[in-house]
Symmetry: D2
Subunit: 417 residues, 4 copies
């Protein structure tokens, strides 16, 4: 009997693809351990466990990573107002480092030299997973079947070939018709892409959206809540009309998810630029995160120094969003950029009051004891803080270089429009 080629930890989903990959890896002579991460997706983990073992996995690990997902990835991204290409809140990107770290931890413990996944060869996730693996365990070897032409990619071109292989390997296949798009779900969001969505001019069907109520079907009556932040992190959510208060980090996030889902908040539909340079159409629902981001951005208006905000927006927000999207979490540049977040959030303390209504997150007020906002100082009606003549001096100084340039334009006959 031939010896094993080695032990592989497989990122297992319970679906057709990774079940076939599991069987195929065994066929190729590997010993396979199946891995699942619970990052809040709706999933029958027990069924998946049984299936993996039935197909031939030596072991099955289910890791509950929800809390670290919220506290170690989602909250720093929130503190930095992360957003990709103006609209995407990075829900899939945020989960990948957590899952990859969970896998490397099991791979280490179980002595796996290899790791495998079912990502296709065109997407972002293969890159995000593999770069995260290498950043944590640079000697790990990756088996990406969908990028192995002869043995896998061409052999299993098309769903029929996979189904035939599943039948051959006695892999149970769900009878439900596949949806004409694919999804990725976790407690932060769900994504929809591929299939009928590949035509960017096709409006997503109403029944595609899974996490949020259609704004048109959302309640006619607005609901008011307040969120308290400490150092830029949500520490208390109050929902007066439900008589509820949440203070635990994970519970806060889940409560905001529930509220946002009810009010149809957090849907987007975009064409984005994948890391590999291909444009791709994606639809996303990020309910709770949409509320949290709006509230955090608003509170920063009241409590964050102008120059810190401006530098943070131009560097941390943009760069950390790119780092997340491109799967560069376990890199020195992530450590570098993230290290500046605490200093930017010291003063971001206070409460934001919000109204939720049919897709809208409406800010109704905010307060803080930081004192960076000073009613008297900003008031047009009274003096406070500085003299009007100070502004005359300020403008005089600010105009020095502008006047010089304007004089040069006039002398040189250069026209300013």
């Amino acid at each position: 009997m031939s010896e094993s080629k080695g032990r592989v930890l497989l990122a297992y989903s319970g679906g057709l693809d990774t079940s076939c990959i599991l069987a195929w890896l065994i066929e190729q002579g590997y010993e396979v351990i199946a891995f699942m991460a619970d990052v809040g997706q709706e999933e029958d983990f027990e069924a998946a466990r049984k299936k993996a073992l039935a197909v031939g996995a030596k072991k099955f690990f289910l890791e509950d990573l929800k809390r670290e997902f919220v506290t170690e990835l989602i909250y720093p991204a929130l503190q930095a107002n992360c957003i990709y290409e103006n609209v995407y809140l990075l829900g899939t990107s945020l989960a990948r480092p957590i899952i990859a770290r969970g896998m490397m931890s099991v791979a280490e413990r179980e002595g796996c030299d290899f790791v495998s996944h079912g990502c296709t060869g065109k997407g972002n996730d293969q890159v995000r997973f593999e770069l995260a693996f290498y950043g944590l365990k640079p000697d790990i070897k990756v088996i990406a079947p969908w990028r192995i032409p002869a043995e896998f990619y061409h052999r299993f071109a098309g769903r029929q070939a996979l189904l035939a292989y599943a039948a051959e390997k006695k892999i149970p296949v769900q009878q439900t018709a596949a949806k004409p798009w694919s999804t990725d779900e976790n407690l932060f969001h769900i994504s929809y892409e591929a299939g009928i969505l590949e035509d960017p001019d096709t409006t997503p069907p109403a029944d595609m959206w899974k996490l949020t109520t259609d704004p048109e079907q959302a309640p006619e009556t607005p609901q008011r809540i307040s969120i308290e932040f400490a150092a830029g992190l949500p520490v208390k959510v109050t929902v007066p009309d439900e008589n509820k208060v949440y203070t635990d980090g994970v519970e806060i996030f889940l409560a905001l998810n529930a509220l946002a889902r009810k009010h149809g908040i957090g849907r987007i539909d975009i064409v984005e630029n994948r890391f590999i340079g291909v444009k791709s159409r994606g639809c996303y629902e990020s309910p709770g995160a949409t509320i949290l981001r709006a509230a955090h951005v608003d509170l920063e208006g009241l409590t964050l120094d102008r120059n810190v905000r401006s530098l943070r927006d131009q560097f941390v927000t943009i760069e950390l969003s790119r780092i997340l999207y491109n799967g560069h979490w376990f890199t020195p540049e992530r450590e570098f950029v993230v290290s500046s977040i605490p200093a930017s959030q010291k003063t971001v303390n206070g409460v934001v009051r919000l109204k939720l209504y049919k897709g809208n997150v409406i800010i109704e007020g905010r307060s803080s004891d930081e004192g960076l906002y000073d009613e008297k100082e900003s008031s047009m009606d009274e003096l406070g803080g500085f003299e009007p003549t100070d502004t005359t001096g300020f403008i005089a100084i600010e105009s020095i270089r502008i006047k010089k340039w304007a004089q040069a334009n006039i002398r040189k006959g250069r026209v300013t429009v």
Copy 2:
């Protein structure tokens, strides 16, 4: 009889403040010409003209600057997706350079050595106006009464003193009670600040909002429109259910304003950082601009190269927004930044389909013949453009430096979290 101290061009609004300033300037020995710009605000210009002449203005000029406001300021800002501190679309900032240029043109023609305005000593507008004046006409002299302590500021402290002076000078005063906030309006937006809004935790009263329907009162039925862009500029707006098509730049903007107003689109409420470093609370309605920005950002997803978008976002969007906010339009840095816009918009051609509903601008689809998006290439279901093994190479190369860093961490015992 004493000689005139010189000729002043006064930015006149028809209100109490600038009418008193008009009278006061005459009292100080100046000859005053009143100037009004029509930038789309709701205003009785004829009444203002009569009042100015009645108070003693030698001449009155009303300049219709709406078209240049839209085409020379609003549209470049739109092409660059300008936004200040994540939320403010810069409606007041955009109008100032146009008004200032109109004034300098009249000042030149009428031989005015001085220019005057009614801006307070704490706001942004004094800075925006004066820096614009100096950038166009560096030898102009500015009289800013609200920053002249003895002769004006202290003399007219409080509204009563102004009313008394108005009575003395026979300046007609509107009997309507002053609103407990102040506003600035033009065809792009209206702003509300000061008064009761100075407490950032006070929710603006429902009857404050003037330009847009309350989302809760907006139509129950969504409305669909499409906007066609050429080189990043809107060139056609189609409103099927009204059987309307708009192709003129100004008409497009006004039509979008009407649609957005109806559907409660474009309200914001923020605490922002003024140029002088004071935090200030402002509420704004920017109806049409909110739709246009959403559509433009979306079309860029489909048609703009990833790297151009990213560089443009990090530099042009942020810097031009700051330039606009701080009143630095007539400066070399504005010329520099704006000169890069056309190259960024070459490929931004196509159509965006939108649904307007109770405060929401929902993208329903977009199309373009630019071809930067390629269904086959992004499809997970078929090959196209590149081989899956290419991505293996890409990831291998991308991981080189990450592995080196991870190996150093391991060797040096540095922990990566």
Copy 3:
């Protein structure tokens, strides 16, 4: 007789590698046209022509690209003060787009479907060439023998295998011993890398440096020159002690090269980060460019507005340098970034006086009629331009937000160090 697989345009150098590639391509069934670019390197082009034809090339093209190299690549990079990782002036990077464009033009004319080159699989040049090819002619097919494992890479592993193949194919081989490093030369610079230089702690041997005199051997007597710029470009170089004046763009560059070489100016020795993420040690001599950059940077001090300079430094200089280094010249981001250069150089007019001495470029003075510098205004000894009280106002306004922050620190007990 078998049909040709197609026509290949080969970037030919006359050396062993590309001669063997030429023979090998013919052996593989291609028809080969040899291409050489004269970008100012020291080379026996006629010998190369004979050799290429002797080995079997159907045709040989030598394109003189020196002028466009200087005017279309070097000068924009100079205007933008391009520099990679603080020290490298990008000499090789600058030549690549020019050569690639020359090749695509010949490929188009001669109906070549393929293009080939002798770059190794680890360097920057393969990337720079190929991305430039694709940016100009996206349907071109590239044959990169050093990245074809079975047929080429493994077959010709090591110099002996190549020499044997050369002997077999009757390719004449130069008897001179190969230097223990490799070089790339053009009129801008020469680079040295690989071989003994791969140990970054090995000091380059004195006889390696080819273009410049060792500073220790350079003249004891300094030499003074002046450079006049118009819109940021050098338009006149005056060398008083040689009684010489240069006004032609190419001649100016060559004259500065000669001066810098004599005075030992422009050597660097660095470890840089290649585009593929590998660190690499390189030594470079960029004589004339070093003088020009120092003079241009200095003149910008006198003539460029502060804010334009700052934005240009942070945006154009850094991004264009990266674009050049990574071979992204024929991309939309290059068009975007370069489009902003003219607006940044309008006022960069004037003369810089320099002293050249043993490796040093010493600025001795500069002048301009732009007037952005104003002796009176900057003088500590006299008034001019603004009142001292204006600065009091400026500081008062600048301190508003700082005081607020300091007060919050005190109130909250946060320590500032």
Copy 4:
């Protein structure tokens, strides 16, 4: 007898200006305490003490701030490669926060409500000092006599008026003729500005330069040294030919100063942009800092990840340099930016070997045990780390978006140059 107006802490230099200010403050009714900081300048502190007390100061404080100047300001700036407008190493800027903090500490201890200085109304130092005061002690009141028109500025216009006042107040005046420029000196550098230097085309006279040997007079024989860095900070300087090793932070800096001075290293002559927008000509000698910066930049090539370097250059280097120059050290943005430095310097460990020769700092080699540089991987001569086919994949992926753009250009007839 009238009561004191309060207690003033005066930044005293021992010179004519601040001695007159001292007398004038007393004349105005203040009680004055004189403060001097020893930041390494050449100065007769004892004579200054006697003079201050003779003129009427109640107390005199001399604070030795050299160590904190080096470790708290100079070294972070070195780690971040700070440089202003490409050339200026910020010597004056770096000392200001240290001096201001020393003053605020004495002001607190001695119960001074006021602080005063002799800075003119046109320079950077007034801004730097005052913003630093406010950032530390927001309720401090500043008396800046050179910005008080009636009582001081106009009264003492011109040196004669000051001399007369000195005579009247029996202030001893040095008989030595004033130099035709002014200087600011500390252990980092000396600056020269004003006077004959105000003409930017005037070459500074040879006898102006005080800290460094003229390169033309520097030794004919080069000297070799090595600098070891740990986490980006110099921890050991070895001078073999002097048989010297330095390991203390301050001693390292002073030793490098001595070496650089001897070899004529660190002179610059520039026109810079002051914070107030005025252009100003300055000459500087920053001997040791010039060596240290060159060595640090070089070592980062070997030891710092490419992406960290690039982000740090674009963000920290540029922003911290501006923060320093503009006197924004005690601000939230400085805390924010500086907080990211440690993460950027973790791997900057190793040794740089240098040759010093007539104004040149020549890198001769560098080494590190970090391992981010890998000879095998970068070698053109052998495989290592990745396969040549990986690069083929990398280029294929990198070219995806470029080809799309090029195809669009061709289809649309847009010309790429």
